[in-house]
Symmetry: C2
Subunit: 382 residues, 2 copies
Amino acid sequence: MTRRLEVGDLISHDVRREAAAWIGTGDEDAVARVAWSVLIEPGDGVAGEAIARFGPRAALDRVTTAPRGADIGNALDRWASRWDAGLVRDAIAAARRRQIRLLLPGDAEWPVGLDDLGPHAPVCLWVRGEAEALAHGLSAGLVGARAATGYGEHVATDLASALADDDVVIVSGAAYGIDGAAHRGAMRVGGRTVAFVAGGADRVYPAGHAHLLQQITERGAVVAECPPGTTPTRWRFLSRNRLIAAVSAATVVVEAGGRSGSINTAGHAAALGRPLGAVPGPVTSSTSAGCHRLLREYDAICITSAGDVRELLGAGPDPQPLAYEAPETIRLADALSRRRARTVDELARRSGLAPADVVAALGLMALAGSAEAREDGWVSAT
Amino acid sequence: MTRRLEVGDLISHDVRREAAAWIGTGDEDAVARVAWSVLIEPGDGVAGEAIARFGPRAALDRVTTAPRGADIGNALDRWASRWDAGLVRDAIAAARRRQIRLLLPGDAEWPVGLDDLGPHAPVCLWVRGEAEALAHGLSAGLVGARAATGYGEHVATDLASALADDDVVIVSGAAYGIDGAAHRGAMRVGGRTVAFVAGGADRVYPAGHAHLLQQITERGAVVAECPPGTTPTRWRFLSRNRLIAAVSAATVVVEAGGRSGSINTAGHAAALGRPLGAVPGPVTSSTSAGCHRLLREYDAICITSAGDVRELLGAGPDPQPLAYEAPETIRLADALSRRRARTVDELARRSGLAPADVVAALGLMALAGSAEAREDGWVSAT
């Protein structure tokens, strides 16, 4: 992994031509952001800081000339496996084909709430539909369990309908259960809704939501920070949650198990100082355990009606941030297969981690019994 | 109402003899407390202050000699209609007959938590069973709706069983619904439980809880601050709630409508600085609306398990006091009948209010349309 990287190998002549046809400009920083989006995993703070400091295009130059041992030099090990103009060109071609638009920081439609993520903000957004509402409207994040109960879906639908009827944009993650109910509730009354997805904006995920995703692009937008074609992984789901929290004036968890992804979204909201609400449910329902935990331990506000959410959108508390899981382990677990052994290099490419970090994380996982070394590589043991 | 009152007309020779046979002592202050208990409505702060200042017996002397216009002189108008040695003697006779014991401040079994009520503390307690647990054990108040759901009763029973199994005394109000479930939950595991009732300790109220009340006297105690024979009224229910809050290290509302008596108990707990918990339920259930209101507006702690209650018993927050209803109106509404017209004097006796206060409150109620003047007196128009 010590070969010399050149910017031309990432942003080739082909890439420039495709990009110009897509976004109607040859602006070097715009194209560089697209390349960065292909290169990094969501929320890569080193990339974010380099871009903020040098600008997107100059930051790429710095990457190719940085001495090893510097922060950016180490990060290079993470990015090298995706340093490929073919990947960038394919992403742009897919975007053109699927009518996915590019949204950049500073654009009129850019949701300014994302800027509060600092170096962890997305480098660009890939958008199917109209995301304008996010930049100029009042947004509420309604999230929750995939394995929701009838009660949870009923409450999510009702809250979304009442809020959307009041011109609030309903933001969620297009998952089964609460997310789907929230999007549907908004659309039922002709309201606006935006789905932030963990994979590419062109991916139909989950499969059963093909029709819902199509409807959302017509009534709002499906938005991704990963390029078209990207598969959703657990890390990307968790990272996506921070976008929902950041673009929403307040986030409400409608139903959630004790250790669900919704708790993670709530943690992001708390870390961003965004007001956080939780809908209570029966204490005998494990699907409400996460909400009750938010009420007990994280000063979430008890939400029982759309009026309560409106109050939350107006002003709110500043709850304590939650503790996060180690990101390397989550990303590596995503990259490992239970059946097919994978080499360290392949795992580095899939996870977007530096090979050295992959080796370190594999060691820990092997000790914990969650990864296993085979002759031809590593497999998941969970 | 300007006749001269004499202590001898309240504590007659008969009363002294009955009292000595009952409590085994002729102690003048003890007998005076019994007389006070007959004389006043629960929580009468003027009586409480006079007793604290002069002692129970001397306070009665003061009452008979106080000039009109002094606080105690005005209060006299409230007490005059019950200044009757026959009532005191009957109460004591009923207590002897029903094996009701007298408990006085300073007694070994006196629940010291009551002292935090200051001048509003009960002047004495009438006890069927053993209240010792209250003085020496850790107590949790579990209260809630009479019209409870199966969910609420299930949670109340489970919480009570788990806590009682851990030697926590379960305090409640012997009502249908949550209260009954809490007492039963404690007894199911052989634990201790105490019921504070709004009427006399000899009254079987509610009628369907005759067997339950009997069981409670065998496994703990049924406790009243009103003398035997007293009927429960709305005012006495609300006043009784302050006793549950005061003797409990923490109070938990398991299920409650938006304007229920349990909210009032919670308000007392808050006013006393006692930790307050609320069990969440479906937001679609009106029977949980009161609990959610406590979580949202009064910083109640979200309770999902017996472990959560144990944590609450250890230490807790200091929530905001709730607003109370005007006591005069509640007491007068209790005293009015919808069918039988009652005179001001009769209403004064039934409500324990001064005739002048009755007239003032009737005027307000007439304006509000909730009371109506007839030729022969007043009726309720609600």
